[in-house]
């Protein structure tokens, strides 16, 4: 380590210097105020150097007095916020000059990064930076570029604040790990006002309102300035995980008082008082506060990358699907989904079947009792993974529960299908929906498959980053995915190379979802469904879809929107078995064991072709008929997970996800989801086990090896990071926030079982 205020000029001098500064920052007193500016600037300079741009030129452009075409809109928003900077030295005073400087910096950043532009909260950050930079505009801009473009996660301030929502969700998980007592109490408060009949929860996670603001303003609106500056030092040096650490530290310090609060309403009232106290600086001592931030967990924060990854692909965009349910009659109401949160919780339950998803078993409520290393030690040790494995194997209860959910949803689907077919004036080709199967028992075979020799479980997911969002094909229906052009291209490439089975090897490192082949005993027309899904692609594409949908929604009446729903649901009465397979690399629909189908999806004219052997049917103009149903069919979208040991030979279907909306969107181009030939073959191979017995699929070579979850391993990523970022950049996301209380509940059950 080399201690100097600024890094020296040599190859690794910067890293050495940075390490030294990191060490200084965590000492009592931290980086001296006089040096702060130089340290921040050195960090920013290094980033700018890496970008290999002409900074002088950039500055000239960004601070250009002439107006750019986009400036007007930006300028208006920025000016509106100028007098509202809140807590910094820039507010309040009627200092025209300060305001002009602030405006120029904000405008400069908006010109520099057009995608992010101006976000409410920037004025506070920029004011803080200007303060430290002695009001030097270009220096403030430089640090702001480094901070927002490099240090903080992408999309923290743009793209519907997706990354921020991810961090809010991640934070709740971390809170469960580090402060289980508090987390439990908050969960209790959140769910106390739960709807008795539907079980729906209408209270958003209680920490959200605070963490959202804290993260957006880097704590400048909640902590006194001396602490904010220390926290900023750490953020710039150590990265964005400091945000989560700081938030954990704050909650830890407030925990005692929050534990006494009996209701959510009083929690908010108390937090109002506590926020004021924090701001005044009476509550915390700077040095012990900073010490807590560093001692809360080892660096880098264990599991943080995985958790962020998980939520990045798993955040449930907030949809309006609940709307459709309102239309349902009372009689069907309790059978039907009424609430998004319910889905969310199911989601979480599904996730919690996987290892590494929750915190350590300790009950430390006070962070200070978690010394450095305590966390990492328990997580890293081999021994810690075994309980997870055992818990997975003992988690019959959870799986049963999921099975129940599945059945319930099947009933829902049935009702909806029946309802839709009754309501709608029958169109010639729309017979599609008439279900042959009369009873919800059609899916009972999911668990029958645990016959010792029946099938083989294919575990594809082995990491903690399960993002099992998929569309489940309902009884006799298929849902054809809308995929973006680029993804489609990618997919086709991959499908060319990989058969489904060989894919599973690749996928075994991925957080993906799997499975189901089940046949119907009770009916003459057994059905096998196979939905295989890798979360990431699906999630990213669904989210894109949803965003578009939401956007269009916001300006139109819901009814109109329904007409844009282009989800296809095609049932085949006369097929003996119906297998649908969708996977991240391959989207496919195959009908019957020897039949294949190619789905063609166009935004304007929608065609679904089902090639049944030599027959070929094409249904046109299904849209108007199907769209309504499709929307209501939210509950019938499913997500399927596989778990291992107890049902080693079986496949489980879990969870249904109402991603109907996701399917709506077409990127404006037509595209075709095709099954590559090799995939077809493999499907056929899989399906051939399915005839009309309850036998279950498909020995899979990749399965056993992937049974042992190495949850530390990084999840499979079908796209290079850059690719994903581009996708994210392209599209906005509507975010729903998980109310993940069931996670902890379930985990408690696991723990009990494991212990007993």
């Amino acid at each position: 380590m080399r201690f100097s205020i600024e890094p020296l000029q040599s190859d690794n001098a910067f890293d050495q210097w940075k390490d030294a500064m990191k060490a200084v920052a965590r000492l009592p007193m931290g980086i001296p105020g006089d040096f702060r500016k130089k340290v921040w600037l050195s960090l920013a300079d290094n980033h700018i150097k890496d970008l290999r741009i002409d900074w002088e030129k950039t500055v000239r452009f960004a601070f250009n007095e002439k107006s750019n075409p986009d400036d007007n809109k930006l300028g208006l928003q920025i000016v509106k916020d100028l007098h509202r900077t809140g807590c910094t030295s820039f507010s309040g005073h009627d200092n025209e000059e300060d305001r002009a400087v602030l405006k120029r910096v904000l405008l400069a950043y908006a010109r520099w990064n057009k995608r992010v532009g101006y976000c409410q909260g920037f004025n506070i950050i920029a004011a803080l930076l200007l303060d430290v930079m002695d009001r030097k505009e270009d220096d403030a801009l430089k640090v702001m570029v480094y901070l927002i473009d490099h240090v903080l996660p992408e999309s923290y301030f743009a793209n519907n604040l997706r990354a921020l929502s991810v961090d809010m969700a991640v934070f709740r998980d971390l809170l469960r790990m580090t402060l289980p007592g508090l987390a439990k109490h908050l969960d209790y408060l959140q769910h106390a006002a739960q709807d008795q009949t539907t079980g729906a929860c209408y209270e958003p996670p209680l920490t959200n309102v605070f963490t959202m603001q804290w993260f957006l303003t880097l704590f400048a609106t909640c902590l006194p300035k001396n602490i904010v500056l220390r926290v900023m030092d750490s953020i710039l040096l150590e990265g964005s995980e400091i945000l989560l650490r700081t938030a954990l530290t704050i909650w830890g310090k407030l925990a005692r008082r929050i534990m006494n609060v009996p209701s959510a309403d009083e929690f908010y009232t108390l937090m109002g008082d506590l926020s004021a106290e924090m701001m005044q600086g009476n509550l915390f001592n700077v040095d012990s506060f900073i010490k807590s931030i560093y001692s809360i967990a080892p660096f880098p924060f264990p599991n943080l990358i995985d958790l962020r990854e998980k939520y990045t692909y798993n955040i449930r965009p907030f949809t309006n699907t609940a709307n459709g349910n309102k239309k349902q009659s009372r009689a069907t109401k309790n059978v039907l989904y009424s609430d998004d949160d319910e889905l969310d919780e199911d989601d979480i339950e599904a996730i919690s079947c996987f290892p590494g998803m929750e915190g350590q078993s300790g009950t430390e409520a006070d962070i200070s009792s978690v010394g450095p290393g305590a966390f990492g030690a328990s997580v890293d040790s081999q021994g810690h993974r075994i309980p997870y494995m055992e818990r997975m194997s003992t988690d019959i209860h959870a799986l049963k529960k999921q099975y129940e959910t599945l059945r319930l949803r099947q009933r829902q689907a049935h009702i909806i299908i029946a309802g839709a077919s009754v309501r709608k004036t029958p169109k010639p080709k729309a017979v599609v929906f008439v279900p042959k199967i009369e009873t919800p028992t059609a899916m009972n075979h999911l668990f029958i498959g645990k016959l010792p020799s029946g099938g083989k479980n294919r575990i594809i997911a082995d990491g903690p980053t399960i993002a099992p969002i998929s569309t489940r094909s309902s009884l006799l229906s298929k849902q054809v995915y809308a995929v973006t052009k680029a993804e489609n291209r990618h997919r086709r490439d991959s499908s060319r190379n990989n058969s489904v089975n060989s894919n599973s090897d690749t996928l075994s490192s991925a957080a993906s979802v799997e499975t189901v082949q089940d046949t119907s005993k009770t009916d003459n027309s057994p059905i096998s469904e196979k939905v295989e899904e890798s979360s990431k692609t699906t999630e990213s594409e669904t989210s894109q879809c949803i965003t578009k949908d939401e956007n269009s929604l916001s300006n139109t009446e819901t009814k109109k929107d329904w007409s844009t729903v282009s989800l296809h649901t095609v049932g085949l009465d006369n097929s003996d078995s119906d297998s649908v397979k969708s996977e991240d690399e391959v989207r496919s629909c195959s009908v019957d064991t020897n039949e294949e189908s190619t789905a063609e999806h166009k935004p304007t004219e929608e065609v679904i072709k089902i090639n049944s052997g030599d027959r070929s049917k094409s249904y046109k103009d299904l849209r108007s008929n199907q769209s309504e149903m499709a929307l209501e069919n939210g509950g019938a979208n499913g997500l399927i997970l596989s778990s291992d040991v107890p049902y080693r030979k079986s496949k489980h279907t879990m969870m249904l996800q109402s991603y109907t909306r996701s399917v709506n969107m077409v990127e404006g181009d037509s595209y075709v989801t095709k099954y590559s030939h090799s995939s077809n073959n493999s499907t056929r191979k899989n399906s051939s086990h399915v005839p009309s017995t309850s036998q279950h699929p498909t020995p899979d070579s990749g399965s056993d090896t992937s049974l042992s979850p190495s949850y530390k391993s990084k999840p499979f990523n079908p796209f290079p990071t850059k690719h994903i970022n581009q996708n994210r950049a392209k599209t906005g996301l509507k975010l729903g926030l998980y109310s993940a209380s069931t996670l902890s509940q379930l985990d408690n059950k696991f723990k009990k079982k494991t212990l007993s």
Partner: protein, 214 residues
Amino acid sequence: MAAGPYNYSYIFKYIIIGDMGVGKSCLLHQFTEKKFMADCPHTIGVEFGTRIIEVAGQKIKLQIWDTAGQERFRAVTRSYYRGAAGALMVYDITRRSTYNHLSSWLTDARNLTNPNTVIFLIGNKCDLDAQRDVTFEEAKQFADENGLMFLECSAKTGENVEDAFLDTAKKIYQNIQDGSLDLNAAESGVQHKPATPRNPLNTDQTPNKEGCAC
């Protein structure tokens, strides 16, 4: 902590929505503090305020969620719409664009709240009549067509601000009285407070020792 009986019998949850800079936070501040805050800090994400009012002899606590108006915040503020008993939809009478966006806000409000949610349209800044860009009649017609309650207010002078919040509460209370609002449903946004609060620790399994200061 306040463990005694509540001094109010209902909690109504409100949300305030509308474009950026229409004065949502100022309305809230005027209502809760009875003061106009000229340089009211903009809302980052979601903020909340409370005030206890009295309707028909009943004490009612209003829990008011104030949302950020910037478009990019809409995704994260949506989760606060749910279970709102009242929604105050605000536009600025001096800026037509904020009025034009009402349909989009209304769509959100309708989709994300329950059918009984009282939606109240507020034309703010009516003290700036000289700069008026949206006529009262026009907005009144929009409100009538969509079944909204409507008032023009001024967060600056305080004109009609109380009325807007109180009328909403009266309407909600009326809905409770005539039975159209189901108090047992959490989506109603109304909580009826029993005389003694439930003890959270009863249902909670053994509360954490370290975390519990009681």
